[in-house]
C-alpha cells in the first residue's frame, strides 16, 4: 500500500477538529474514496482522536479549595505583619532622627553655657518637687475624706489598670480584624 499524502494527513487533523470548510471537507472525502492509504490513516486518526474524546475527569480532593484559601490567608497575615514591622521601624528611625537633632543642639548649648544648663536642671528639680507635693497633697485630701488613704490609692491603681487592660484588648481586637480582612 502507498504511503498516505502528507498534506491530506494535515487536512485529516483539521477535519477532526471541525476546522475545515464545507468545500474542503467535500474534497477530503473525495480523496479518501480514491486513496486507500489516506482512508486507512483517516480511520486510525479518528481512533486516536476518539481515545481522547469525552476524557475521564478526576474530581479534585474535597479540601483542595479550602487548602488553597488557607495558604493565601497565611500569606496575607504574614505580609500584614511584615508591613506593620516595616512601618514601626520607619517611625522609630524618624523619631530617633527628629529627637537626635535638637538633643545634639541642646548638648552643645549645655557645654557652651554651663549656667543655662544648671538653670534648666534646677527647673526640672523644682517641677519634680511640685509634682511630689501635689501627690502628697492628694494623699492628705484623700485621707481627710476617707480616713484610709491606702484604699483610695489602691482604687485609683485598679481603675488605671482596668483602663489600660481594656485599651490593650481593644487594640488587639482591632489588629485581628485588620489581619482577617
Amino acid at each position: 500500500m502507498n504511503r498516505p499524502h502528507e498534506e491530506i494527513s494535515q487536512q485529516i487533523s483539521l477535519a477532526l477538529d471541525g476546522a475545515l470548510s464545507l468545500e474542503e471537507e467535500r474534497q477530503l472525502r473525495a480523496h479518501l474514496q480514491e486513496c486507500p492509504a489516506c482512508a486507512t490513516l483517516w480511520e486510525e486518526m479518528r481512533g486516536v482522536s476518539g481515545l481522547f474524546e469525552r476524557p475521564p475527569l478526576l474530581a479534585p480532593p474535597p479540601l483542595l479549595a479550602a487548602r488553597v484559601m488557607r495558604r493565601i490567608e497565611r500569606r496575607e497575615r504574614w505580609r500584614a505583619w511584615m508591613r506593620r514591622l516595616a512601618v514601626s521601624l520607619l517611625v522609630l528611625i524618624l523619631l530617633a532622627m527628629v529627637l537626635a537633632i535638637p538633643l545634639m543642639g541642646l548638648s552643645t548649648l549645655a557645654v557652651n553655657h554651663p549656667a543655662l544648663s544648671q538653670a534648666v536642671f534646677r527647673a526640672l528639680v523644682r517641677a519634680a518637687e511640685i509634682a511630689q507635693a501635689l501627690w502628697l497633697g492628694l494623699g492628705i485630701l484623700a485621707r481627710a475624706f476617707l480616713g484610709r488613704g491606702e484604699w483610695l490609692i489602691l482604687a485609683v491603681w485598679l481603675v488605671l489598670a482596668v483602663a489600660a487592660g481594656v485599651g490593650w484588648m481593644r487594640l488587639l481586637r482591632r489588629a485581628r480584624r485588620i489581619v482577617a480582612r
Binding site: 481515545l51 474524546e53 469525552r54 479549595a65 495558604r71 493565601i72
Partner: protein
C-alpha cells in the same frame, strides 16, 4: 459560569476580597486540577500543582487584563507551572492507581463501567506519558478543555498555525507510538509498559471509534 458574575468576582478579588477569590478557586479547581493531572500524570503532584497555580493567580491578579478571557489566563498560568515542574523533575515517577470514587460522574457511563473508566484512564496516561510536553499540552487543551486553536495559541504563547501543526504532529506521534508498540519491536521483558500498550493498542483505537462524542469540560 456567567461571564459577568465571573468578572464581578475577579474585580472584587483584585480589590483584596478573599471570599470572591475563593469563589474563583471553586469555579476553576476542576479544570486546573485535571490539566495538572494530565500533564504530570500523578494525582498527588496534581494537587500540589493546583495549589501553586492558584497562589500564582492570587499574587498576579493585579496584572490580569480583563480584555482577556479569565479561564485562558488561569490555564496559561497552570500550563507554565506544569511545564516548569516537568523540567525540574528528576527520574521517573511511579504511576499510582486512582480510587474509583474520584472520577467525576459521566452521564454516558453506567456504574458498572467504572472499571472500564479506570482502564481507559491508564491507557490515556500511558499514551500521554510518551508524548513530548508541547504535544501533551495541546492535546490536553484541545480535548479536556475543548478549546479553539485561537485559545490554545493564547495559552501556549504561540500562533494558531503553530497550534494546528502541533496538534497534527501530536496525533501522529500517538498513532506512531501505538503502531510501533504493536509491531512488537521491543522484547517483552525490557519494555513491559509498551508491551501492555501494544496488546491494547488496536483495541483502544477500535473502542475509541465507538465512543460517543464529547462535551466541554
Amino acid at each position: 459560569m456567567g461571564g459577568d458574575q465571573e468578572l464581578v468576582w475577579v474585580v472584587k478579588a483584585q480589590q483584596g476580597d478573599q471570599e470572591a477569590f475563593a469563589r474563583l478557586v471553586e469555579a476553576y479547581q476542576v479544570p486546573v486540577y485535571n490539566l495538572a493531572y494530565r500533564m504530570l500524570g500523578v494525582a498527588t503532584e496534581a494537587e500540589d500543582a493546583t495549589q501553586e497555580t492558584f497562589l500564582r493567580v492570587y499574587t498576579r491578579l493585579k496584572t490580569y487584563d480583563p480584555s482577556r478571557k479569565f479561564s485562558s489566563w488561569i490555564l496559561s498560568i497552570a500550563s507554565h507551572y506544569c511545564v516548569d515542574r516537568l523540567r525540574r523533575r528528576r527520574g521517573a515517577v511511579s504511576m499510582e492507581e486512582v480510587e474509583s470514587w474520584r472520577w467525576m460522574a459521566d452521564e454516558g457511563l453506567a456504574p458498572e463501567d467504572k472499571a472500564l473508566q479506570r482502564e481507559r484512564d491508564r491507557s490515556i496516561r500511558e499514551v500521554l506519558a510518551t508524548l513530548p510536553e508541547p504535544y501533551r499540552l495541546v492535546i490536553i487543551l484541545r480535548y479536556w478543555h475543548n478549546l479553539s486553536y485561537e485559545e490554545i495559541a493564547e495559552i501556549t504563547d504561540s500562533t494558531e498555525s503553530a497550534v494546528k501543526s502541533r496538534l497534527h504532529r501530536a496525533r501522529q506521534a500517538v498513532l506512531e507510538g501505538l503502531n510501533h508498540a504493536l509491531e512488537g519491536q521491543h522484547p517483552l521483558e525490557e519494555r513491559k509498559e509498551e508491551a501492555s500498550l501494544a496488546q491494547r493498542g488496536r483495541a483502544l483505537l477500535q473502542a475509541s471509534l465507538r465512543r460517543p462524542r464529547r462535551e466541554p469540560l
